[in-house]
């Protein structure tokens, strides 16, 4: 089994994180923005697991479990907000919500 250098795992996490960040910046559909946030959280978790694997400690995996619970709570509230948003504005374009008090 040829081992994998730590940098390559971290570079993959960096690539996925930057892709998620670009998605948040580029897309205006609220569903796609939430998906991009999920990509970023997943990349952060990957970086934790790579680091934990590097040191042979379970702490990285535990941080991933916490990120997973946080992502689940975040996405449930975010999708409930998306449904409210759609009922209020009849669109998923976030530019529709650029004024306070709708």
């Amino acid at each position: 089994m040829a081992p994998v250098p730590m940098e390559h795992g971290l570079i993959l996490a960096a690539v996925l994180f930057v892709l998620g960040m670009a998605g948040v910046l580029m897309r205006r559909n609220i569903i796609f923005m939430l998906l991009s946030i999920e990509v970023m959280l997943n990349a952060a978790g990957l970086a934790f697991v790579v680091a934990g694997s590097r040191w042979g400690q379970p702490d990285g995996q535990i941080m991933f479990i916490f990120i997973l619970t946080m992502a689940a709570a975040e996405v449930s509230v975010g999708l409930a907000l998306a449904i409210r948003f759609y009922h209020m504005f009849k669109t998923l374009d976030t530019d529709a919500a650029n004024r306070m008090r709708g």
Binding site: P5, L19, R28, T69
Partner: protein
């Protein structure tokens, strides 16, 4: 093993790019599931089998099903996909893409400028993860449960409020 790592990395990056460029939300979700499965394979190769299973069960299973339910509830028309494709013109995505590429270059520079670190070590079994999770990190588990309860209450509140508004609208519509 190493070849599998690079192969699944390439699959993860390509499917993530496809997620961000799709117009149809359901297609994007399916590509994101492919991306999550390849990241789960990477976790397995890195010696984290417990987290690989959690990635598939919770991310690809539960969270993606939540997204599918919401897309079904919103009942988006084909017009929405057309409008979405109009929003993906180059003048909209070039600016964020350039800024992201600059940040990516900085990250790669930070990760490669120093001398190479030792290789990754072997597998960490779920036993040690569980012992550590309910040992030194037990307070974090309690806090995570409070966070999940708050998320549940928040999602319930935001989802329920809408029905009250509709009832009010119906009532006022009936009166007028």
């Amino acid at each position: 093993m190493s070849a599998l790592f690079y192969l699944s990395s390439v699959v993860a990056v390509i499917s993530t790019i496809l997620v961000l460029t799709r117009v149809n939300a359901v297609h994007a979700l399916l590509y994101f599931i492919v991306s999550l499965l390849s990241v789960a394979l990477i976790f397995f190769i890195l010696g984290a089998p417990f987290v690989a299973a959690l990635e598939i069960i919770i991310y690809a299973g539960a969270i993606m099903v939540l997204f599918v339910f919401v897309i079904m509830m919103l009942n988006l028309s084909t017009q929405a996909a057309k409008k979405e494709s109009q929003l993906l013109t180059p003048e909209i995505w070039v600016g964020p893409a350039v800024l992201s590429i600059i940040l990516f270059g900085e990250l790669i520079y930070i990760l490669t400028v120093r001398e190479s670190r030792p290789y990754l070590v072997g597998s960490i079994s779920p036993k040690y993860v569980g012992m550590s999770l309910l040992g030194p990190y037990v307070l974090g588990v309690e806090l995570a449960s409070i966070l999940l309860l708050t998320g549940l209450a928040g999602a319930y509140h935001l989802g329920r409020h809408d029905e009250d508004d509709e009832k009010k609208e119906d009532r006022s519509g009936g009166e007028s």
